[in-house]
Symmetry: C2
Subunit: 203 residues, 2 copies
């Protein structure tokens, strides 16, 4: 039985091209069926340490194709995309900022997530840079100094670590990884299957 009140869970890394593509579509798709989405940034670096996977762009032959596919898939979905010069990058500052904001204001956290993804995949900003992340967050209304202090402390680090471990525990191995009533979907190319699943309550 589908519980139509439960939110979709959207796991992603801020350096993941297909995660970015999904981020531009998932809320509207869920909304169409009266559903909400919980965004959960994770670090692929930690997950890949567990699974032994390598970043897609570093895989022989597949790497070159993937660069081509990122841009083509973005055009297919009508989403702006410019592959970042430095890629992949470390995204712990962005992910921690998301959770810090989220504990205060869900909407601001969501707006920051969109801003960070677009800064990286459209405007070519280096979101591994702490000051870039602080600027992006403060432009969404975050308190620069409070956030800066929080990011330097142990609590938010422990929080992100716990989120990553919880994600691995339920089987998250890549980005985007989307749960719909417990049903896992991996990849932005599964959005059409997610749509059918939402429409029919499974298939």
């Amino acid at each position: 039985m589908t519980n139509i009140d439960s939110a979709l869970e959207f796991y992603f890394d801020f350096s993941s091209p297909y995660g970015y593509l999904a981020s531009e579509k998932i809320d509207l798709l869920a909304q169409k069926f009266g559903r909400k989405v919980k965004w959960r940034p994770i670090l692929l670096g930690i997950i890949f340490r567990e699974t032994g996977a390598v970043p897609l762009t570093q895989a022989p032959l597949k790497g070159e194709y993937s660069l081509h596919d990122f841009a083509r898939s973005a055009r297919y979905l009508g989403v702006p995309y410019a592959h970042p010069r430095r890629f992949p990058v470390a995204t712990q500052h962005a992910a921690r900022t998301y959770y810090w904001l989220h504990d205060q204001d869900c909407a601001r956290a969501r707006a920051f997530a969109h801003a960070a993804y677009r800064a990286f995949f459209v405007d070519g900003q280096d979101i591994s840079d702490l000051t870039v992340v602080l600027d992006l967050a403060s432009r969404q209304g975050a308190d620069y100094d409070a956030l800066s202090e929080a990011l330097a402390g142990p609590a938010i680090k422990a929080r992100l670590k716990a989120e990553c471990e919880a994600a691995i525990a339920i089987g998250v191995f890549g980005s985007p990884y989307i749960l719909v009533d417990g049903e896992p979907f991996f990849g932005s190319d599964r959005l059409p299957q997610i749509e059918l699943w939402l429409e029919k309550g499974g298939f």
Copy 2:
């Protein structure tokens, strides 16, 4: 410029679930736009030796998901699917048989390819078994003894090796890998992009 006379090239391994799903769709899709498809079986074993990739089902976490996704993607596409008990299997007999048939009769080779895929992914037959392959081919009208002799000889082995090397040389790293006027698409989940590409001559 799109050359509407040129055939799509469909690279696949007979033990590839997503290759099988694509095989059930690609000809009709191409036909819709007045195009033909060249089927080119290859051996992922040889390609993975080159790229260092591992079979999807053996990847930590991703492996378990993939088994779930094979079946769900089949339902999504309306294609019958039963995951084979032995998987993956060696497919050199099936691939060599395809090329041997193809040199005599394209249509018979195509019919054999469908029969071999369905034998493995629907009926649970072990297509790594030479006698199973010989039976499948003879049911498509192949001369059992002539094929049996050919499969034991060096010519057809060299032929498949050359096909695999040529595939690697143009960047084929997995199955299915489909070229449309030189544009590469990887995965059965790229069929909608292929459709748009055929419709618009690129996007």
